[in-house]
Symmetry: C2
Subunit: 221 residues, 2 copies
DNA sequence: CTTTGTGAAACTCTTCACAGCG
DNA sequence: CGCTGTGAAGAGTTTCACAAAG
């Protein structure tokens, strides 16, 4: 799936670990806000909702940042995880498709706060073009390539209807983008070397329905 | 994490398989719309974006629904997967928090089409209460317990700000709900027997940033 | 001859349990 | 003495490769 680059500085962090680092970061930021200076693996694991052995193993992939008998320095660990995730640099993100979901994303504080800067909002509907959202003016989708190139966009969020998603995808890849977050309920086909992550709102509900049905069938309730 | 109920009719479908069934269902519905009568594991796997051996193993957990030398009957497989996921029954869903995200969810066709019926939209902000969205009137969050009980809500979607999420969660569990889909960026603490699935919009971006950074560092580009 | 269904092998991820550091 | 970091064991998942079915 993801291209592995066997490289000197690639310490080969497992995908499962990478997926949890943002969780740890969020928990650590909560602790930092409350002024906590250090935290044990036990407490941090509880705050992030994982098992403490898993947390220690995850962190061990980044380096030896804890102190035995004490725990982890909150600020230092925030820095190390941020650096590992690439959040110490500034990523320009464009959101294509400014319906309710696109608006929700544009207004979502979690993006801007962590290394991401929304550099463009685009939509194909002339009715929407010109609207001001989260301090930006919505531009026409025709401008996609221009916006990507002029503003150094490296990550594109696709929040269009399913029917437009593949076409938008092809265009942004052609413009040089290799990281895409897709909210449209379609499987995007992309060449090697392009990363696509997808979020499908209805899939999660379907998984819940499966478990809910099992609860109703089972004896243990 | 998820409670296992070792039960006669629990054929113990692996979690990884359950998570992919909605994907297959979506691909199958696409084929059905185009009138395709049967499909091979190879073709269906390609449409769903997975490896064909994995697809066959996944489907084998549900039963022997294919025909060797031919493939799978599209309509029949749609029915079997729907039944397994519990989508042949009607699930009443309430959405708490009617900001942009809540509105996006309420208007999202994918929910209504597949066994889910939005039975309530609730918000704590009096400014929003009374708005009509997707054919429903937004009710005050004070009505939460009443709505859940009167309308038989079994799944609740939390789309509130982080600060309100745990409180809403506690209340819906108290009212008898055991399946929660959480969009707020907090780890909800819940008793045993309650299923929580979470979608964090910013975590996916952070994972992309990690890979994007690796591409920039690596030699292979 | 095509395509499913599946043991077995390979791989990944999680958890245990404790040596060893501070 | 408390807590990290980690080998080793265990659980879960993916992929291979092929026998058996149609």
């Amino acid at each position: 799936m993801t291209r592995r680059i066997p490289q000197a500085r690639d310490r080969g962090i497992p995908d499962a670990t990478v997926a949890r680092l943002p969780l740890y970061l969020r928990a650590l930021n909560g602790l930092a806000e409350r002024g906590t200076p250090t935290v044990s693996s036990e407490d941090l694991a509880a705050a992030a909702g994982v098992n403490s052995a898993k947390l220690r193993k995850d962190l061990s992939h980044l380096g030896s940042y804890g102190t035995r008998g004490v725990g982890y320095d909150v600020q230092y660990l925030i820095y190390q995880i941020s650096r590992e995730l690439g959040l110490t640099q500034d990523w320009a993100v464009a959101i294509v498709g400014v319906g309710n979901l696109g608006r929700a994303l544009a207004n979502y504080g979690g993006f801007v706060s962590r290394g991401f800067r929304i550099a463009g909002l685009l939509d194909g509907d002339p009715q929407v073009v010109g609207d001001r959202i989260a301090g930006l003016t919505v531009e026409h989708a025709d401008e996609l390539e221009t916006v990507i190139k002029r503003r150094g966009v490296s990550i594109v969020v696709i929040a269009t209807p399913a029917s437009a998603a593949q076409q938008v995808c092809d265009r942004v890849i052609e413009a040089g983008v290799t990281s895409i977050l897709n909210f449209a309920p379609v499987v995007l086909s992309v060449p090697d070397g392009v990363d696509v992550r997808k979020v499908d709102l209805s899939i999660e509900l379907q998984i819940l329905a499966f478990h809910e049905q099992r609860k109703a069938d089972g004896v243990v309730m």
